[in-house]
Amino acid sequence: MRQLDGVRSLERLCRQATGRQAFPGQGATLEQTVVSSGLPSLDRLLPCGGIRLGSLIEWLEPTTKSGIETAAGAAAFALAVAVRLQAADSLPAGRPILVIDRGGRFYPPAVLPWLAAADSTACHDKAVVGRRQRRGNSPAASRRNDRLEKAGTRADRQLYVIRPDSEADEIWAIDQALRCPGVAAVVGWPQRVAATPLRRWQLAAKASGVVGLFVRPAVTRQQPTWAEVRVQVQPTGHVQAAAGGRPMTGRPTGRASWIDVRAYRLVRVGGGWESATAVAEPAADCLLDLTCGRECLRPAAASLQPDWSRSTNWKEPVCHAS
């Protein structure tokens, strides 16, 4: 701990003295670039109002486990941020997302629709198209449909899944992916990482401008990190909590029903060696629409009223028979 503090102050001193960095991994232009994370409440939470290119962000699970063991939704959140980063207008197109999935449990159909929906203007647009498609093809619906088709067929939204077998391979794969400037974001859920590979990852990301998003269990909160930001992702129960505990059956946007929306409480718990100092932790609430991976803006008070006419909403059966 003390040593690492020393490293950090040495770096700062070098920068002050020579205007250069003590360690390789330059890129003054990249370091300045801050991109919106695409989720307004997360932007408000992050120290520089967005995600700095070439930085690592850790998403802490609320429990001691991570990945499939917990169902808290931190991985979904990290993936949503990765998709928004890929779709950012200010960055060149055609950069893939790399998901490093050691356990082989990742289920891409959760995320692939987000890639297709990343271009459409609004989240509910897609939902409307979906509904019209079933009811019949009005000209307006077919126009919107065309637009959506175009959005979906854009071939520059790519996602690759890397499945290493061992921990060593996983660390190597993340390191390699972070070194490649053509990658939009690297998403991973490494279980145990020592400080040395983390530092290596951070230098690699800094040099290339790739953003690394790592989901880690809550126990790592006690450990120092090289990540710039650490965000604890905590699901805050169901959305009804926001509506005063009453069962909420209204619909937020379009076809998405409330169960497609997940409420999170994001707490910034340090990062960048600030974990030791226990200052007041900034927090934000976020509603993530799981059908398109976008933030669902806080609904107006009117729509929070329970819609008793559709109280059987949850029982709506969907049948796929073939």
């Binding site: 991985a75 060149p92 055609g94 159909p109 939204r157 949850w314 969907v318 049948c319």
Partner: protein, 578 residues
């Protein structure tokens, strides 16, 4: 006048299959393809060793018949047991084509220029219904034997040598030599008819009995107009529609067609007719096109004495590979190609099989350093043979490199974007080299309601020797995202269990939603539930999958994906929204 030799391999898909699996020779073999309605139709069939033919007629099974019809024809001719022992395989057009190209490389012993010949005309005998298959569905080789025949003792002997050398490899071939590719193609299809009219200019003294089945024929120079006049119009590779129109007006053979004036033919019929006639007579040039990847380079290095692989220092093998890879790249660079797949053979000491490493690339590459890095990544995971006698690097497939303009000031300029794409390709190659081909995948949605089958993992690195499904240098599945939308349209979990895990679940109503369940030793109270989403599918894969899926949110905020198997009414956990 050039001299062209055509080697026709009748029923090539079956012949190839029988060469690869000689155990199939006693059985009737049907190579089938699905037509646009999903019906299995016969593409080719053969029975290499039929029983002594019964009194009945030979079964007339035409390509394009449905398999059931073919069986109905086969049964009365040989008995129903023939249908039971019939071996039915799917057509593999790409494999056939590649095997033919391999044969073309082998056939360079006869002539320097060898090409894969044209396929029969579209729609002939209902064979080629699919347009993209037609380019592949060739079954002949064409060799430019101008000036090479005398090495073999004359054209007749050359044809005989070719026929019988192929026969020694288990391949039945018909060979014809004529002035033009079109004429020799026509003669090869009808060797018996042509042999009947060809005058024996030089009477064959020896080996005449070898040709009693008229497997080869030589059309003397400049005589195709007279000797091939009796052949039907399909020999000119005219489409069936055009040939039928000509037959309706009484033109049935090439000779009759030649008597008509060319100008009136051009007015009344397809332009193809006059074009083929001109090619037949040699009035227009018809160059042979050697197949792509014909001259793939390879380089090898042999040690003077076998060295122990443990004596090699860390830099020896990379330096050696670098030298060999550069040797391979040099001829490719001249034609603007890069390596898309290569094979490294480490020859062990005496009597040991070589260790072979296949490296398939995401995109063709021309950088020796990158290729050597990939080879070394793979070698680091391979057990080297005890002794090394030599090293061979062979390019298995090459593809054109995407042309790129050099950037002088490479900053965040727009021109730097393709460079970034190339870096991604290099990254994927490295990952696939160390982690294995199956470990680097691109997910693609499939239109399948069963969650486990709703996506496919497509490896991004190509298979060596086969072009990967993406096409050289292309992207994986252009419309991958739009090809299928996830069935159901509702959100799916982030993680899924490889096989659903049984759960203890309490539900109030017998078919109602869950109320609480136990997982990992903890009791989870269900706070919110959506469902059921009923899935009934996959009866063609085995037992029908019948499940009611529920999205469940617990009091602690965790989200789970449960289902109730409808067969036994038991609950399973299938995934989590982690």
């Amino acid at each position: 006048m050039p001299r062209i030799m055509t080697i026709w391999l009748p029923r090539w898909p079956v012949q190839r299959l029988l060469v690869e699996q000689p155990s199939l020779r006693p059985q009737p073999v049907f190579v089938c393809r699905r037509n646009h309605r999903g019906l299995l139709t016969v593409a080719t069939w053969a029975w290499a060793m039929p029983p002594a033919r019964p009194a009945g007629r030979r079964p007339a099974i035409e390509p394009g018949m449905s398999l059931a019809e073919a069986m109905a024809v086969l049964a009365p001719a040989y008995g129903s047991w023939a249908c039971r022992m019939a071996h039915v395989v799917d057509e593999d057009a790409v494999g056939d084509r590649q095997a033919l190209e391999t044969l073309a490389r082998w056939a360079r012993r006869f002539a320097p220029v060898v090409a894969v010949g044209p396929a029969a005309a579209a729609g002939s005998a209902g064979r080629l219904a699919v347009a993209h298959l037609q380019a592949l569905a060739s079954d002949c080789l064409q060799l430019d034997v101008t000036g090479t025949a005398h090495f073999f003792g004359g054209e007749s002997r050359l044809a005989r040598t070719a026929t019988w050398t192929l026969a020694a490899r288990g391949l039945h071939a018909r060979v014809a030599i004529a002035d033009t590719p079109t004429a020799s193609w026509a003669a090869a299809r009808h060797t018996a008819a042509v042999a009947a009219v060809v005058p024996r200019l030089q009477p064959q003294r020896q080996g005449r009995w070898l040709n009693r089945q008229q497997r080869w024929v030589v059309v003397p120079p400049g005589q195709q107009r007279q000797l091939l006049a009796g052949l039907p119009l399909t020999a000119l590779r005219l489409p069936v529609g055009v040939a039928e129109t000509l037959v309706e007006v009484g033109v049935e053979s090439i000779g009759q067609l030649l008597q008509l004036s060319r100008a009136s033919l051009r007015q009344r019929f397809d332009r193809l007719v006059t074009f083929r006639l001109a090619a037949f007579l040699g009035e227009t040039a018809e160059p042979l096109q050697p197949p792509d990847g014909d001259a793939l380079p390879s380089a090898s290095y042999a040690f003077d004495l076998p060295v122990l692989s443990r004596d090699l220092t860390g830099d020896d093998l990379p330096a050696l590979c670098d030298r060999l890879v550069r040797d391979c790249l040099r001829p490719l660079a001249a034609v603007g190609k890069g390596i898309a797949g290569l094979q490294v053979r480490l020859d062990g000491g005496s009597g040991r099989p070589p260790t072979v490493i296949d490296v398939g690339l995401f995109r063709p590459a021309a950088s020796a350093a990158h290729l050597v890095e990939l080879i070394m990544l793979r070698l680091s995971r391979t057990r080297l043979p005890h002794e090394l006698a030599g090293l061979t690097v062979e390019v298995v497939s090459a593809a054109p490199l995407p042309c790129r303009q050099q950037v002088l000031f490479d900053a965040a300029s727009p021109a730097a974007v393709p460079q970034a794409g190339q870096q991604v390709a290099g990254l994927l190659d490295r990952l696939a080299s160390r982690l294995g081909r199956e470990a680097v995948v691109e997910p693609q949605l499939l239109a399948d309601a069963q969650p486990e089958a709703a996506w496919a993992a497509v490896p991004v690195a190509g298979v060596v020797g086969l072009p990967s499904g993406r096409g050289a240098g292309g992207r994986v599945g252009k419309g991958g995202l739009a090809a299928a939308t996830p069935a159901g349209g509702s959100c799916r979990p982030t993680f899924i269990l490889p096989r659903p895990q049984p759960l203890e679940v309490l539900a109030i109503a017998p078919e109602g939603p869950p109320v609480r369940f136990r997982w990992q030793g903890r009791l989870h109270e269900v706070a919110l539930v959506r469902g059921p989403e009923r899935i009934e599918t996959a009866w063609w894969r085995g037992p029908t999958v019948r499940r009611d899926y529920y999205i469940v949110e617990t009091g602690g905020g965790g989200r789970f994906w449960l289902f109730r198997g409808l067969r036994r009414q038991t609950w399973f956990l299938h995934g989590t929204f982690g």
